[in-house]
């Protein structure tokens, strides 16, 4: 094909068997000249194209990826391309956060009879990629380490819940305890500056319940383990969204869970607290006041004001009170309306694509693939059947290289499309502090943009957007080829 005289690039095409593959055939039979860069992989339906195929190709060195299927409302399997359209559009808005130019990925609709259209699609796409040149690689990027600026103004006052109705809560739990398998909450951990989950079975256990800024864990993560047993759970506002999402996906049953809630006044960023505390042998005292906590470690006092040491997610939190609960005690602070970009995402927004690639390169270098992020995620319910360590299918190598690690993070993020409630447990659990929450936040932003400001885990009756479709999408256009 004379249009492209430069050296061939590596382009991967996923073509639906029924339409686009036929369209490419038609173009060939009609002797319509085509560039030879595209390596075609025939798939049964564009709905079969997992967005991860695209990411894997791009991470492994493809310079461009093209997905093409039947025109919407013309799918061989009735609705495959409707699902594909939503997923691929989310993917398109996700790739830039990794540092990959989303112009390197495109999707199109070509029917079997449209040989000429196929010729046009493949030629324009190839031309575009040639204009961009070979794709930069993660392995070639110079590691960049940057820390998000956490100095933020909260949408509501943050505090230490000094006036919370903890005793009433304990009584309410004790009253219900006889009919429950257990109630999940928090207790003091190995010292006064750490909490750990508590599984209350007896009234004595209930007395150990703690409520305050150290209750960082999301107890919803345990609920699917108790499916079929009537279980209680104490939640903060953000945790309740995870419970709702689990209900939405039928991973737990409403009649099986009893939800207890107090208004949350914010939780501490334990990583930053630990950093300030430094190496200490023992905690002498932990004193609370309205605005913060004073921890005395080895005789030295450290002050942690909630406004300065809260978790990033707490500043923009608009749901201090559980969105769904059976027992609600106390009145939450009013939330000032306003939007707030989470600090990790704001940091990435400010970077150029090449800087983002360098950033993830630097971050992923210290990932140990320990999967704390996955197992702390209440929505990661496959866990024992995760593709990341499965041998069948053998999706990922056990190699400890940055591309495999970033690919795993992408799997995790994309599997959470429209499901992630932003509880931030993935990032909090990471022992080496990789800001992976930013990937989920970008997905959540894309989902909100595409689906009328949809936020996961607010309505038990809602269907997560990536599990459904509309024949005529409001915010996704037909993508007529330009």
């Amino acid at each position: 094909m004379p249009v492209l005289n430069s050296k061939e690039l590596r382009l991967v095409g996923f073509l639906c068997n029924w339409c686009s593959y036929g369209g490419a055939d038609t173009a060939g039979v009609a002797r319509a000249g085509q560039p030879t860069d595209l390596r075609i992989i025939r798939v049964p339906c564009s709905g079969r194209v997992n967005p991860l195929f695209v990411v894997k190709a791009l991470l492994e060195g493809a310079d461009g990826v093209l997905v093409s299927g039947c025109h919407p409302r013309d799918c061989h399997y009735a609705a495959g391309n409707f699902y594909a359209r939503r997923r691929l559009e989310v993917l398109k808005r996700f790739l830039p956060v990794l540092g990959i130019d989303n112009a390197r990925f495109e999707y199109a609709w070509v029917s079997a009879s449209e040989g000429q259209r196929w010729q046009h699609v493949v030629t324009s796409f190839t031309k575009r990629i040639h204009a961009m040149g070979p794709a930069p690689h993660f392995n070639d990027a110079k590691p960049l380490l940057r820390v998000a600026d956490m100095a933020l103004t909260a949408l509501r006052p943050l505090g230490t819940a000094q006036n919370a109705a903890v005793n009433e809560l304990k009584q309410a739990i004790k009253d219900k305890l006889p009919e429950l398998n257990c109630v999940i909450g928090w207790q003091q951990g190995y010292d006064g500056a750490h909490a750990t989950p508590l599984f209350m079975k007896t009234p004595e256990d209930v007395d150990k319940l703690s409520w305050g800024p150290f209750n960082v864990m999301n107890p919803a993560v345990y609920l699917p383990l108790f499916k079929g047993k009537k279980t209680g759970v104490v939640v903060k506002g953000c945790d309740s969204r995870s419970v709702v999402e689990l209900l939405q996906e039928n991973l737990i049953k409403r009649e099986d869970v009893l939800i207890f809630a107090l208004p949350c006044e914010g939780t501490l960023d334990i990583a930053r607290v630990n950093e300030k505390l430094g190496r200490y042998t023992r905690i002498n005292a932990v004193a609370y006041d309205e605005a913060g906590v004073t921890i005395t470690a080895d005789g030295k006092e450290h002050r942690f004001c909630m406004n300065d040491f809260a978790q990033g997610k707490c500043y923009g939190c608009a749901t201090p009170m559980a969105v769904l609960a059976d027992t609600r005690l106390g009145e939450p602070h009013k939330v000032n309306p306003g939007s707030s970009v989470p600090p990790e995402l704001a940091m990435l927004d400010d970077m150029a694509l090449s800087e983002r690639m360098a950033f993830w390169r630097g971050q992923m270098e210290r990932c140990l693939r320990c999967y704390a992020c996955r197992n702390a995620c209440p929505m990661c319910v496959c866990r024992d059947y995760c593709v990341s360590d499965s041998r069948d299918p053998h999706w990922m190598s056990q190699d400890a290289d940055i591309k495999q690690k970033l690919f795993f993070q992408t799997i995790h993020a994309l599997h959470l499309s429209g499901r992630c409630t932003g509880c931030g447990e993935c990032q909090r659990a990471c022992p080496v502090g990789i800001p992976i929450l930013a990937l989920r936040q970008q997905i959540a932003r894309a989902v909100a943009q595409l689906f009328d400001d949809y936020k996961a885990g607010l309505d038990p009756a809602a269907l997560p957007p990536l599990l459904g479709y509309e024949a005529h999408e409001k915010n996704i256009h037909e993508r007529d080829w330009k």
């Binding site: 820390v147 909490a195 630990n274 990790e344 400890a400 990471c430 502090g433």
Partner: protein, 353 residues
């Protein structure tokens, strides 16, 4: 008396450069700033800022990498008879002579835990052996305990020399270096650092003060039998493990955990052939005991966690006479839900059953 040397902080780059001339790589702790600051070991290059802090990730990688190629294989077909396939293998261990600079006594003891099964078992592991034999360990003694560590419970201590070639103790702005092994002796004799005899008493005082800062240790002699006796007590294990998320953070950050998985990458045909990889595995993972038949004897996290505790505090001591835990406390500090292995061991110890 072993060789003693004194190293001032401004002499550190020169000393590291001396070490890197003698050895292929020198691993030093460096800070990675992120939303959770972490300290990890990286090969030293001139100009690199070194921090003498306890690392977030232990330097276990130096002898047991997170992922290594055990062998590469290549298959080729006989063009005359396509059913006739020749396989060529390369399984030469790759070992770079390495110095670990400024790990902690618990990390160094971790190497000893690994040595027993890998070097002294029925079969010596050639890959491990090659790396272990070309490893020199410079350990910095701790000046105090910390909230999560418990090295003195399990036989170590803030200045335990076990597993180290050279022990270093910080005295104000200088380090006192003390040779422990013949390899350490040779290195210290060869370097041009001034003699450290004069400061030795001060270093000893620092070490004593560190010991004094530790909380009293319980007597764990009965622990192996106690834990073995609890094996069938499901209630006990259920209570101890209910908060566990079954991730692998505790094992991957443990200097004494050494379980691995072996996987093949590629069918061996083609230009690049295939690779057999050995990568870290952990008993918290469901695939850990997944049998070829499809059966998994440890389907739930309770038996998996029981395995972890039992291996460290009961079966390993039964086989090798000492705990496979060096008390570094990283499993506690890195646990997403702050599970405390010390509490589990103590509960087992005090359990009447």
């Amino acid at each position: 008396m072993s060789t003693l040397r004194i190293l001032t902080s401004d002499g550190l780059p020169a000393f590291l450069s001396f070490l890197s001339q003698k050895h292929h790589r020198v691993l030093v702790p460096v800070v990675k700033s992120a939303n959770k600051r972490s300290v990890i070991f990286e090969p030293w290059r001139a100009g690199m800022p070194v921090v003498l802090e306890k690392a977030t990730v232990p330097p276990k990688e130096a002898v047991l990498p997170q992922c290594e190629t055990l062998l590469t294989y290549k298959k080729s077909k006989n063009q005359e008879d396509l059913g006739d396939i020749t396989v060529s293998l390369d399984d030469t261990p790759e070992a770079l002579s390495t110095v670990i600079f400024a790990c902690r006594p618990c990390d160094a003891r971790g190497f000893r835990v690994l040595d027993r099964p890998f070097l002294n078992g029925l079969f010596a592991d050639p890959y491990y052996k090659a790396r272990r034999e070309s490893l020199t360990v410079f350990t910095i003694t701790c000046s105090s305990g910390c909230n999560t560590c418990f090295c003195h419970w399990v036989g170590g201590g803030p200045s335990s020399p076990e597993g180290s070639d050279v022990l270093m103790t910080k005295i104000e702005e200088a380090l006192m270096l003390q040779a422990i092994s013949p390899a350490g002796e040779t290195l210290l004799k060869d370097c041009d650092l001034p003699d450290g005899k004069d400061v030795f008493p001060r270093a000893e005082a620092v070490r004593k003060a560190a010991w004094a800062s530790l909380a009293p240790a319980p007597d764990l002699k009965q622990v192996p039998q106690k834990i073995a006796a609890l094996f069938g007590n499901d209630d006990f294990w259920q209570r101890q493990t209910s908060a566990c998320l079954a991730c692998g953070a505790c094992t991957y950050f443990c200097p004494a955990c050494y379980c691995f998985n072996i996987t093949d990458e590629g069918d061996g045909f083609g230009v690049h052939g295939g690779r057999r990889l050995r990568s870290w595995d952990n008993c918290m993972s469901s695939l850990f005991t997944h049998e070829a038949s499809g059966h998994n004897p440890r389907m739930r996290k309770m038996p998996r966690m029981r395995n972890r505790i039992s291996h460290k505090f009961s079966t390993y001591p039964e086989n090798w006479g000492t705990f496979s835990c060096s008390g570094c406390g990283r499993c506690i500090s890195n646990c997403p839900v702050s599970l405390d292995i010390r509490a589990i061991v103590l509960t087992a110890l005090n359990n009447a059953g």
